[in-house]
């Protein structure tokens, strides 16, 4: 344990930048994007510094151990700030064009960048907090920061999506607060907790196995409902397709990439504490996850809207992540975290590509798109890489993580779970390759005239600031696929953090 300011700075910097952006209502869009990119670069640098410290075997703590950064925190910080940077760069051109025709454009830009930065601050805070009540507070804050990003266009559809998102996730979070309170009471009653700070997650995981069975059952049901709603797990996923589809493309990338992963992170931190002593929990989580996978991909197959298709696929993919975490074995947790990282990258890539398509053509409907490969070859290649990767085809990164998960399931003799996971993978390939072929190689649709596209805020070609983030993400997908060893050390460290809790190695 090393006292350090880094875990505090990692959430204070984006929060302060966010407040600056929110308070300068009349500043230009350029100013806001500079603040965002600079702030997030700083955050990324600090995340790297935290990772370096953690890889040395240290745990960074601050403020009486209420702030605590271990391998799992470092992994999430790194992923979050990296995605934040990508999204901020993509937004430089995308967002101003989409609000250019509105009278209150400067205020909207200030809200957009301010909330984007605030969200990343809150998300980073969630990942370093060591107090169960602060976990609830910051988790709810990540929701609150993103609601007005979902309703950014402030029209009928986005308002509906935002309302559902706010209501469902807030109710879910209150459920998880109740669960956390029960766990707190269960821990506080234990004789060995006399004189210790019961609110700390590290203390909780030390004695987690001694909490009475009845409390564990009730509290875990409440927690899975609450965090599951945030993660978009079936049957709490109703908000997800609406919010993802109606938000601006970079926000969708952020929602699918990071917001739902915060829910998965909370499950990894709290629920896995109880997994090992109750094998029923493993089966329960595996069933929930398998349902999520199958229902998600079946719903994705019947969508005509690209972004809704991608959103339902996120429901399906979060099933893989949660299944891995729920297994509670080294291989399972490793696979779950690996899939979390890969899915973040690939789904962000696909959402950004879909956003570019809508940006140029003014439509998101598969039935109205076709033959775009000549107009945007780079986007076509990026989308195709993403489509193959999310289907779990070698040599891309998701093949590696899915394979790890299949192995983990087989290891636990859960053959049915492995079969469902493979089956879902096949459907995913079919769904995405079909979509990619249709959008980029299908019959060119002449009906979409540039004039229509312009009315929708589109351009004739995709600007460089939108292509670069996509290229970066596509590159990452390929590189991690070929050299999984690149991120193995940090994944290994994060897995050890969860396992240490499971085996009571404190």
């Amino acid at each position: 344990m090393v006292e350090s300011w880094l875990p505090i700075l990692v959430f204070v910097i984006p929060t302060v930048c966010g407040v600056i952006s929110l308070s300068l209502r009349r500043a230009s869009g350029f100013f806001h994007s500079v603040i965002a990119v600079l702030g997030l670069t700083g955050t990324f640098a600090i995340s790297v510094a935290i990772t370096v410290e953690v890889m040395k075997g240290n745990v960074l703590v601050a403020l009486n151990n209420t702030i605590y950064a271990d391998g799992l925190s470092a992994l999430m910080e790194l992923l979050g700030s990296c995605m934040g940077m990508v999204v901020a760069i993509y937004s430089i051109r995308y967002i101003p064009i989409h609000v250019a025709h509105r009278a209150d454009a400067p205020q909207r830009l200030s809200t957009y960048y301010g909330l984007l930065l605030l969200f990343l601050g809150m998300m980073n805070w969630t990942c370093v907090t060591n107090s169960i009540v602060w976990l609830y507070v910051t988790l709810e804050a990540t929701t609150l920061a993103t609601v007005f990003l979902v309703t950014f266009y402030w029209d009928r559809r986005s308002l509906e999506a935002g309302y559902k998102y706010l209501m469902l996730v807030t109710v879910g979070i209150i459920f998880s607060l109740f669960g956390l309170v029960l766990i707190y009471a269960g821990v506080a009653g234990l004789p060995e907790m006399k004189g210790r700070d019961v609110l700390l997650i590290t203390e909780l995981s030390r004695v987690g196995r001694k909490i009475p069975y009845s409390v564990v059952l009730l509290a875990n049901a409440l927690l899975v409902a609450g965090f599951g709603a945030k993660a978009g797990l079936v049957p709490f996923h109703a908000w997800l397709p609406d919010a993802h589809a109606e938000a601006p493309a970079p926000v969708s990338a952020l929602l699918s990439g990071i917001v739902i992963k915060v829910g998965a992170y909370a499950i990894a931190r709290i629920v896995t504490v109880f997994a090992p002593q109750y094998p029923a929990v493993i089966i329960f989580v595996a069933i929930m996850a398998s349902l999520s996978m199958v229902i998600g991909i079946l719903m994705a197959l019947v969508q005509d809207d690209i972004k809704r298709m991608l959103a339902y696929s996120s429901v399906s993919q979060i099933g893989y992540v949660v299944e891995g975490l729920g297994f509670g074995t080294y291989l399972g947790i490793y696979g779950g975290l690996f899939h979390l990282v890969n899915h973040t990258i690939v789904k962000a890539l696909l959402f950004l590509a879909a956003g570019a398509v809508a940006h140029v053509t003014g439509t998101r409907r598969l039935s109205e798109l076709g033959g775009l490969v000549h107009r945007m070859p780079v986007v076509a290649i990026c989308f195709f890489i993403g489509a193959l990767a999310i289907g779990g085809l070698p040599p891309f990164s998701l093949f590696m993580s899915k394979f790890t998960l299949f192995a983990a399931a087989a290891d636990l003799r859960l053959t049915w779970a492995a079969v469902i996971a493979v089956f879902t993978g096949l459907l995913t390939v079919a769904c995405f390759v079909r979509a990619a072929l249709r959008i980029f190689w299908g019959k060119p649709v002449e009906a979409i005239q540039p004039a229509v596209a312009h009315a929708n805020g589109g351009e004739r070609s995709v600007p460089m600031s939108m292509v670069l983030p996509m290229l970066l993400l596509a590159l990452l997908t390929v590189v991690i696929g070929f050299y999984p060893g690149l991120i193995h050390p940090i994944l290994d460290r994060a897995t050890e953090c969860i396992l240490k809790v499971l085996t009571g190695g404190f």
Binding site: S131, V133, W134, Y136, V137, E140, A141, L144, V147, F148, T151, W154, D155, R156, R157, L159, E160, A161, G162, Y163, K164, L166, M167, T170, V171, I174, L177, F178, V181, L182, Y184, A185, G186, A188, G189, V198, L199, P212, S214, V215, L218, P241, D242, A245, E246
Partner: protein, 227 residues
């Protein structure tokens, strides 16, 4: 000790009225009256917290009671009345369940929940703190209000009624939090209340937006995105 008995009597009275106020806030069809019932319910919550401060000699709980009054008795009802003002509604949209049936169901829900939980409280909170009065009754009341909130959220379609349900749910969870974790640091409490107020403000903004674009406050009308 006669004073201690008096304290528990006052607490019992507070809790029973708290439960009744929750039921009234959930069932009243007149929206203005329902919001006033929520004000009373929240005020009673603050009173319960304040009496805990004296029962447990933990005077930091008084801060919590004051913040409860500031947020739940003043700010949130003000926001709800603002919602009522912009939508110019007086009577709730017909819920999915009739008044008599709903009243009966709500009462039965509370009574049954109260009876079961009061008897088997060790099942959900097996701690010394939760076994003794007044924590035992308080936790039971918290569970009842929480489940009443869930019931309201499921069966009501009027936005304002849904928000009232959300606040019942929140008040239940917060009562449980205060009962089982009275020693929370003040910064944590401030974090929780900030969230509550910001969430309430955002719901009002969204409802205003929805009302201005759709002209309704019916959550069932929000179905454009369904297929």
């Amino acid at each position: 000790m006669p004073i201690a008995i008096q304290q528990t009597d006052i607490l019992a009275l507070l809790m029973i009225t708290h439960l009744i106020a929750s039921l009234v806030a959930a069932e009243l069809r007149n929206l203005r009256a329902a919001i006033w019932a929520l004000v009373v319910q929240s005020f009673l919550l603050a009173c319960i917290i304040a009496s805990f401060a004296f029962v447990w000699n933990n005077y930091t709980l008084l801060i919590w009671a004051f913040i409860t009054i500031a947020t739940k008795v003043v700010i949130i009802p003000a926001l709800l009345f603002y919602m009522l003002h912009i939508t110019s509604l007086t009577v709730e949209l017909r819920p999915l369940i009739g008044l008599r049936a709903s009243l009966l169901f709500g009462t039965v829900l509370i009574v049954v929940f109260y009876w079961i939980l009061r008897t088997y409280i060790y099942f959900v909170a097996p701690t010394q703190a939760a076994m003794v009065e007044p924590a035992r009754s308080s936790l039971t009341v918290a569970f009842c209000i929480f489940s009443l909130g869930v019931y309201v959220l499921i069966t009501r379609r009027d936005v304002i009624k849904v928000v009232i349900g959300l606040h019942l749910l929140e008040n239940g969870a917060h009562l449980a939090l205060i009962t089982l974790a009275p020693a929370l640091p003040t910064t944590t409490k401030l974090g929780i209340w900030t969230n509550v107020v910001v969430a309430a403000y955002m719901i009002v903004k969204l409802t205003e937006g929805i009302y201005k674009t759709l002209g309704v406050t019916d959550t069932l009308a929000l179905s454009e995105l369904k297929r």
